[in-house]
């Protein structure tokens, strides 16, 4: 949150963040769970509702702002980070959130996303990744697995997908995290960390689209598979996961990371997670543990480092220049500066 956002907690409840609009996603859509988690998290911000603004693009996910009793803008496809940058830069008193989808953020909106991240604008960007275009009824997206059969790829998609976290890290993102629609507690933890981060916070939320890409993240959710697939990152803790008898750990391998059975590894060699490493190489390596295949998928905060924010610096330049200036007088001064002459 920007410096100027006040944190004198009003006592609001989740229900205070519900708007009067009927929620219109398909039954079973992961967006419902995310909405509920966000509504139950927002009181923690300690802000009056009017101090919060959600900006979205276009997509199922981008309907999100309508359902929150905050200020909201449902803008146009892909442009939310740009619009939000204008808002956040000119309004340090607001907590500005962007809600976007894998198509909205990574396809048409890719440029605005990477630029918002490199600038480190004080935005919390929630990317609902269902690995499909939901709203336009099921085309593959930049995160769909190669070979995916959709209406626009009847012989299988041939586009190699992005790894959103790698892309964010390659774009100099200062905060990068991943979480899951179905894990409310984890989702809230990540939102909290994002909100506390000063600068751009990029949060990928795996979101199920039961209609066009059902069970895309089932391996991370099903009791049979999740323990062996989901890696919960905890700062300062060795990276371990797996079910009883199948404990796994993450170790360094070359310049990257690798999963190994715990019993084959000296505990001292297990990677201890640290999100505050300045060099993004570690977080990048971590982002490569999973991609389109979710066998070993870390969730949590990959990276969180302090860097100057774009909006903060812009404002301090303006404040420095403008402090104590009488605009009207200064305008007169400007206009009369340099070569002028008088006709009597």
């Amino acid at each position: 949150m920007a410096d100027a956002v006040k944190m004198d907690a009003p006592k609001l409840k989740a229900k205070d963040f519900k708007s009067d609009q009927e929620v219109r996603w398909c039954p079973g859509c992961g967006d419902y769970a995310i909405l509920a988690a966000v509504q139950s998290f927002l009181p923690e911000l300690g802000l009056e509702r009017e101090k919060i603004a959600f900006v979205s693009g276009i997509g199922c996910s981008s309907r999100f702002p309508y359902y929150l009793n905050t200020y909201g803008m449902h803008s146009i496809h892909g442009r939310a980070p740009a619009i939000a940058t204008g808002l956040a830069t000119s309004r340090p008193d607001l907590s500005v959130w962007v809600v976007t989808g894998d198509g909205d953020a990574l396809s048409i909106g890719g440029n605005h996303l990477i630029h918002a991240l490199r600038r480190n604008v004080n935005l919390k960007i929630l990317l609902f990744n269902n690995r499909i275009y939901g709203l336009t009824k099921g085309q593959y997206s930049p995160t769909s697995e190669p070979g995916k059969l959709t209406k626009s790829s009847p012989m299988g998609s041939v586009d190699a997908p992005f790894n959103p976290l790698s892309l964010a890290l390659g774009s100099e993102a200062s905060f990068v995290a991943r979480t899951l629609d179905s894990d409310r507690a984890h989702l809230k933890d990540v939102l909290r960390a994002a909100a506390e981060h000063e600068g751009s916070a990029f949060v990928e939320i795996y979101q199920n689209c039961p209609i066009f890409n059902d069970d895309a993240f089932e391996v991370l959710k099903s009791p049979e598979t999740r323990d062996m697939a989901l890696i919960r990152l905890e700062d300062g803790e060795p990276i371990r996961f797996g079910s009883e008898g199948g404990e796994q750990v993450v170790v360094q391998s070359g310049y990257g990371l690798q999963v190994k059975p715990a019993d084959e590894v000296d505990p001292a060699d297990v990677v201890v997670h640290r999100s505050d490493i300045d060099d993004p190489a570690y977080a990048f390596a971590l982002s490569r543990l999973s991609g389109t295949v979710l066998d070993h998928t870390p969730i949590g905060v990959f990276r969180s480092v302090r860097k100057p924010t774009y909006d903060g610096q812009v404002r301090s330049q303006v404040e420095e220049a403008a402090s104590g200036v009488d605009r009207a007088a200064a305008l007169g001064g400007l206009m009369h500066s340099g070569d002028t002459w008088t006709v009597l």
Partner: protein
């Protein structure tokens, strides 16, 4: 002493290589001329975008100034005096020079090598090329170097001051004093006094050369013009636009947010505003034009005056975002400094071919206000008007400047800032309705009955939380609505809001009321048209004129004005875009287009001929 001859007006063009400092020379001559009280108008002409090799034709840079003892409207059709710093400058500019005109050449540069670079087999100074002109040969470079012999600077550096020598010479010729420039040079080079003094010395040497050299038979005097009393400065359109933005901030009390992506010829507005953070201007150099418009719109949502500047290609990219602005009904000012198109076109050349894009270049029925300044200084007031419309009606506004206005300069009588309009906005702070259960509620699309503007409740306002978006919304509540009747209503309401914007009547200049032909222009053709009309009237030809600042909505009396003339001539630097709008809206008017799309402003001569033709032959 030489003969002194009185003139009422002169057009001089300084031309040289990009590295020769012609813009500075022109600028200084302008300052001296302004100080003397002449009215003036200037036009710089830069080489195409990349610096071409020295001495080549594409590398030529020039600056034209027209000054007179009465008010003038254009930088002049044809220079009467050409200062040519090298063969390229001569070759590139010769065809524009008035027959019989004066050419001052720097003979030092007329070397074999330089001549060859521009395709002169023989020196034009030695063959018949310049037969029809008065050629004054000056060894500008060597005279300058000689004059600076006593300064501790290298020969190459000394030679660089030859533009000041030329300036001094021309200042003498046209009876200008050099003090303003001396002062300027000393200020500019405060940290390098050696350089300052060398330049001053070159300047004086040039002046003295004129005073003493045999070659100069005549010295000219152009008496001051009688201009309205006031303080004046010379201003380019881009600077006046930028200052208009600052003034809009003062007049509205709002913070200013400029989202821009560099593009010729609009970049200078960004540059100028970037310098003035003390006015509470935030300038964002965005990743592209779409982001620039988006950020400005986001800032506008947050209560700033949001502005985005670009030229044709960039404005085309903003279309979808402007359409969102139309749907959200938020203020947003889009400045299009038009250049020659289509596509990349001729980026440094002027044109007026974005009018129909400004009107219609968006999907759906997406009306916006459109207006255009008529001259460099007029940009200031036009910008204030754009701000008024945007803020009062909560709408995107397109302001169409062009390359001619942007870089051209003219004296500007500085406005009295105490008389700035009040552009203050009342943000919504309270509920404006009651809901079914009698509770106070806020309807973001409940309109002002007069202006049809919706309330502007900025994020942060307690109790007024609401959501807006690009999907069609129910009038009043702003909730998403697919209701057919509501859509029709909203489409018509948005149109009515724009159509209902308060704009002043079109003023017609028809001194004796005997004219049967009206010439109607818009934008930067104002000067050339004015000069042409003046020329015709001087010859006793009746002609009326009017100039449209407000292109959408048009003033209420346009139909009536058109109807009172037999013929309406519409000169445009496009293929007839305003003409189409006029015919479409006022089918009974007899609209005759006069169109040239050459990347250059009209000359008043060609317009005079064309208008005379219509007056005489219908």
């Amino acid at each position: 002493m030489n003969t002194v001859r009185q003139l009422d007006r002169v057009v001089i063009r300084f031309a040289g290589d990009s590295g020769d400092g012609m813009q500075l020379t022109g600028d200084r001559f302008t300052a001296e001329t302004a100080k003397l009280g002449n009215d003036l108008s200037t036009l710089p002409n830069f080489p195409a975008e990349i610096r071409a090799p020295a001495g080549t034709l594409p590398g030529v840079s020039s600056f034209q100034i027209h000054f007179a003892d009465s008010d003038i409207l254009t930088p002049g059709d044809q220079p009467e005096v050409l200062v040519a710093m090298n063969p390229a400058a001569l070759k590139a500019n010769l065809r524009d020079l008035k027959p019989g005109g004066i050419i001052i050449v720097n003979t030092d540069e007329f070397t074999k090598r330089n001549l060859k670079k521009v395709g002169y087999d023989d020196s034009p100074l030695e063959d018949h090329t310049l037969e029809d002109y008065q050629v004054i040969e000056v060894q500008l470079t060597s005279l300058t170097v000689a004059a600076l012999a006593e300064y501790e600077i290298g020969k190459k550096d000394a030679a660089r001051s030859k533009n000041m020598f030329a300036l001094g010479l021309l200042s003498w010729m046209y009876s200008r004093t050099t003090e303003v420039t001396e002062e300027f040079l000393r200020k500019k080079f405060t940290k390098k006094p050696q350089i300052a003094e060398a330049n001053v010395a070159a300047l004086k040497a040039g002046w003295n050369y004129g005073e003493t050299a045999e070659s100069f038979a005549v010295q000219y005097e152009i008496p001051p013009a009688t201009l309205p009393a006031g303080t004046y400065r010379n201003v380019t359109g881009n600077t006046a636009l930028a200052w208009g933005v600052l003034a809009s901030g003062v007049a509205s009390g709002l913070p200013l947010f400029l989202g821009a992506y560099p593009i010729t010829p609009a970049s200078d507005v960004l540059h100028e505003l970037s310098k003035h953070k003390k006015f509470g201007v935030t300038t964002m150099q965005a990743e592209d034009e779409i982001a620039a418009a988006g950020a400005a719109l986001g800032a506008a949502w947050g209560g700033a005056l949001g502005i985005t500047t670009s030229s044709g290609p960039g404005v085309a990219l903003k279309s979808e975002t402007i359409s969102l602005g139309v749907s959200l009904e938020l203020p947003l000012i889009v400045i299009d400094v038009q250049r020659a198109g289509p596509s990349t076109g001729m980026p440094t050349k002027t044109e007026q071919a974005d009018l129909l894009m400004a009107m219609f270049g968006r999907h759906g029925e997406a009306p916006v206000a459109v207006l255009a300044p008529q001259s460099p200084s007029d940009c200031f007031e036009t910008m204030l008007e754009a701000a008024r419309m945007a803020l009062q009606y909560r709408t995107p506004v397109m302001l169409l400047s062009d390359g001619y206005i942007a870089n051209g300069a003219e004296p500007w009588k500085l406005p009295d800032l105490a008389e700035l309009p009040d552009l203050g906005v009342e943000f919504a702070t309270e509920p404006n309705a009651t809901d079914a259960s009698g509770e106070p509620t806020f309807l973001p699309f409940q309109r002002d009955p007069e202006t049809l503007a919706r309330p502007w409740a900025v994020p942060g306002t307690p109790g007024l939380q609401h959501r807006i978006g690009g999907i069609e919304k129910a009038d009043g509540t702003g909730d998403i609505s697919y209701d057919p009747a509501n859509h029709d209503h909203m489409v018509r309401t948005r149109a009515a809001k724009i159509a209902g914007i308060d704009v002043p009547d079109l003023a017609v200049d028809d001194p004796d009321g005997e004219a049967e032909v009206l010439v109607l222009g818009w934008g930067s053709t104002w000067g050339p048209i004015g000069a042409a009309v003046r020329g015709l009237r001087d010859r006793g030809i009746h002609i009326a004129r009017a100039h449209l600042r407000y292109l959408n909505p048009m003033p209420a009396n346009v139909g009536e004005v058109l109807g009172s003339y037999k013929k309406v001539v519409v000169p445009e630097m496009n293929l007839g875009q305003l003409a189409l709008l006029l015919r479409g809206n006022f089918p009974s008017a007899d609209v005759i287009g006069y169109n040239k799309v050459r990347g250059l402003p009209f000359t008043s001569n060609e317009l005079q001929d064309a208008l005379e033709e219509v007056v005489k032959n219908g």
